[in-house]
Subunit: 310 residues, 2 copies
Amino acid sequence: MKIAIAGAGAMGSRFGVMLSRAGNQVILIDQWAEHVAAINAKGLTVDTETGSSQVHLPAYLPAQVTEKPELVILFTKSMGLPKMLAAIEPILTPETKIVCLLNGLGHVPTLEKYVHRENIFMGVTLWTAALIGPGHVKLVGDGRVEVQNIVPTEQAAAEEICRVFSAAGLKAEYSPNVIFSIWRKACVNGTLNTLCTLLDCNIAQLGALPQTAKLLRQIIAEFALVAKHDDQVALPVEPIARDIEALYDPKKAGEHYPSMHQDLIEHHRLTEIDYLNGYVAKKAAAAGLATPICQLLTELIHAKEALLVK
Amino acid sequence: MKIAIAGAGAMGSRFGVMLSRAGNQVILIDQWAEHVAAINAKGLTVDTETGSSQVHLPAYLPAQVTEKPELVILFTKSMGLPKMLAAIEPILTPETKIVCLLNGLGHVPTLEKYVHRENIFMGVTLWTAALIGPGHVKLVGDGRVEVQNIVPTEQAAAEEICRVFSAAGLKAEYSPNVIFSIWRKACVNGTLNTLCTLLDCNIAQLGALPQTAKLLRQIIAEFALVAKHDDQVALPVEPIARDIEALYDPKKAGEHYPSMHQDLIEHHRLTEIDYLNGYVAKKAAAAGLATPICQLLTELIHAKEALLVK
């Protein structure tokens, strides 16, 4: 299958590499010129548990690409989605299917501006990956993917995408309720990312704080309020909180600084807060619901951005 | 007058030095052994706009003092108040008057455990001072003090305390409503201290953030809710916010990191948050009022304390 990875950072590179090794024709699209140039010059350097190798995939800046893929996998940062879609619009045909695997909430209305609803597939992934530098990624650990059509008639197409992913070892499953999984993952990011960033600590340190258990449940409860109101999704607060708490284990994600911490505190880049707690606060305000915790956390992260991002 | 300064840090030292120079018999009481030893060994080193000098005042650890003062001026940190009162209880007579000039809210019930109500005088000061090191303070700038009795019959005694203070250049005024001034100052500390500490910035940087104007007013409004409910004090949100905003000026306090930032971020010491936003949140909860901003800010500061304080 002809596949374009739009947003070829760590996770996009993982999907690109695995899908290419399974025999698909993969191109990478990314806005980071240095990264694109490095991949084209010497291939993508991929570190795994068993060693390092070069994977040769064509890479393009968004405005440069002319090939028309059958499938586009979106892996940009949330705030980069509209710009990426605008840039790749010329290569989208009425048959091009789009799988959106971004973190965060509220992407469907953005997608609908560029893509017919029947071609939009929403997904969520538990794979991880790390970007070491331009043209260099580290792919370790295990994961899985869920994908679902947003138009009911397109289930077969979603299942076909899952087959392509699984044939590449990506362990994809058709999800009958991917919106639940998207909200659930947003709860993970809206707690661990946001609190570790504000408090400047890693996940294990956050988990050890006496304040965290209550804060976690307060935040998830606010997410649940909006999930229920806007998407008729019932998020069970306590089970989600317990699953998040399992990540404190230093053997799992504990020693890890969440991506928002890396973005803002280490690299002084803008965060995805408006697609997590900020999305919840905005949607709650529109619906007349109270989500003061998400509101304040969003303001504080934006304040930190104003202090740190040039 | 025989005066004991209980809590002889920067501000206590200022009052001690000025009152001593005006002819009062002043002793300093402090729990920091190194500071007490330095003062007794070579006097208190006082830097001012015009130079440096040594001021010789007897200094004691709280448990060591046996002299019975006529007036005790309390200048501990909020959380140090009960311990200081317990330690100096033996030197308090039924005639000893106590002026409480601590920052923060909620000190009267603590004072009442050790001192008869008619001997309690509450005050608030706008003087500043800095502790350079053990036995060394810097006293620059101008200020004033307000003092009031808490038992209505004791106004004359409060006015006498103001005369003693003013004779020493401390510009004291009898306040007909000191509780208003205490709440008002708590609003300053509950906004600037708390936000600069959480965001790790100075006052001018905080003032330049687009989020601050709204946050300031939200916090003050929560303080106003509890001030009204518990103390029948009407805090006007907008004028207080504007007065705080005047402090952003780099020519005033702008370049300054608030004391809570110094305590927690620089010196890894516990903060007075439970006597500011934490007091408001606790009292609001008891009264069935909602103060989610103060509640969350308190939790976040406590979380930071748990991360940073050994």
